[in-house]
Structures are given as C-alpha cells and as structure tokens.
C-alpha cells in the first residue's frame, strides 16, 4: 500500500520519557477502522519472589527501529491492517509504568487482535533491546525465555 509508511509509527523513547498511550491510540484511530487492539508491557513488582525496584532498558537503537519496522511490514503481509504504532521506552521504568506499547487498527477485529499478539511476540524474540532488573539487593541482565 502506498501510504504504509505514513501509517506505521515506531518510536524508541529516550530515558525519562513516558509512553503516551493516548498519542499512539490516536495515531491508529481512523474512520475506516472498526477495531483497535493494544498491548502494554508494564514493570511488575516481583519476579520469582524477588522485589523489583525498577527495570532499566537499553537498545541498539537504529537496529531496534529497523527490526520493529520489519516486524510491522511482516504483520501487514499476514493480516489486513490499517495503522500500527509501536513504542519502547529506554532507561529506568519504575514499577507500574509502561515499557512497551503496541497499537494496531483494522477493519475487522481478528486482524488487529492477532497482529497485536504477533508484534509483541516478535519484538520480544528478535529486537535488540536489553533489560536489567534491579532488585533491592542487586541487579541482573534478563533474557526473554520465549
């Protein structure tokens, strides 16, 4: 589609910039769409029984952007999608705040829902972003098991 680039927004956010959910939902909203599916990944307070203070993210930024755009293009081959927005925050993400957000609109709901799951799964599997979990008594680089 000619306007695919205009309808796909990928942002790797610098530290201390919160993920603005409303902005991305607005980006994917349009009169042609009947459905918007979103996914937020948020910092939770415990991991395997240990108390998490915060997560710290870093990324190979230009490659991460490129990979995410590639995932979005791939999703458009599998589903009929209108607009897509993917944002990932860097630096410290305190408990309860959003680290990653995916928003996708489509004419019919299955496309947006299934593509949303695909995009977050692929992002976690292949995009060079790295998370350090900071506990009260230490810190560790994480590895996505999936």
């Amino acid at each position: 589609m000619d306007s695919e680039n205009e309808k796909t927004l990928v942002e790797i956010l610098e530290p201390n910039i919160q993920v603005d959910l409303a902005k991305y939902i607005k980006f994917v909203s349009n009169p042609q769409s009947g459905a918007i599916a979103t996914f937020s990944g948020t910092t939770r307070d415990t991991f395997e029984g240990k108390i998490v203070v915060e997560l710290r993210y870093e990324a190979y930024v230009p490659m991460a952007e490129r990979q995410i755009k590639s995932i979005c293009s791939s999703a458009r081959l599998s589903w009929s999608l209108e607009a897509m927005a993917v944002a990932h925050r860097l630096g410290s993400v305190p408990v309860g705040e959003t680290s990653v957000f995916v928003a996708i609109s489509s004419v019919h709901r299955d496309d947006a829902l299934d593509a949303c799951k695909y995009v977050i799964d692929e992002l976690k599997a292949s995009v060079p972003i790295f998370k350090k979990e900071v506990y009260a008594n230490g810190e560790v680089w994480k590895e996505n098991s999936e």
């Binding site: 190979y60 230009p62 490659m63 680290s99 060079p128 972003i129 790295f130 680089w141 996505n144």
Partner: protein, 92 residues
C-alpha cells in the same frame, strides 16, 4: 568498498558491545578493529575475545549483527562495517 578490500590490505570495522557484553568488555561500548581484507565476522570475534576474554561467558548465547541486520559468523566484513555483539535480548 570492493576497492578497499584488495588482497592483503586491512579493513577497519566498528565493534559495538551492548548490555552484558559491554559489562564483560570492561564497560567498553564500542571499539575500532583492524583485520585483514577477506576476514569473516568469526575472525573478528577471535581478536575481540583475545582482547576481552570475559566475553567467553556469553559465547554460546550471543549473536552478531552486521550493519543493523543479524548475520552468520561466516560473513566477510568490509571496511567501515558495524559489527555488534548482541547478548540475549530482553525487550518488552
């Protein structure tokens, strides 16, 4: 770049270290590396591991990216290429 890859001439690449790889490289996030023309990413890695032996800890779980794309170690590097050591990813 073909002209710069004449047999025997050196090529210079940029090497990037992220996350745990950077920690194991003593906090170094990037370095320049000279290797003979025709060298593969694996040849580069050998030199890098000689310099930062602690990286052996992630030898089995790291992958490489060349110029922003994942790459096999058998790829031949060219002058001004950017080679990244990617430890296990954990975005999301």
């Amino acid at each position: 770049m073909a002209e710069e890859n004449k047999k025997g001439a050196d090529v210079e690449i940029k090497v990037l270290f992220f996350a745990r790889a950077r920690d194991l490289a003593g906090g170094v996030s990037e370095m320049m590396l000279q290797v003979p023309s025709g060298s593969t990413a694996q040849d580069c890695l050998s030199k890098i591991f000689t310099k930062y032996p602690e990286l052996e800890q992630i030898r089995e779980c790291m992958v490489l990216a060349l110029n922003l794309e994942y790459t096999p170690e058998s790829v031949v590097v060219n002058n001004k290429d950017e080679l990244a050591i990617i430890p296990p990813i954990s975005g999301g």
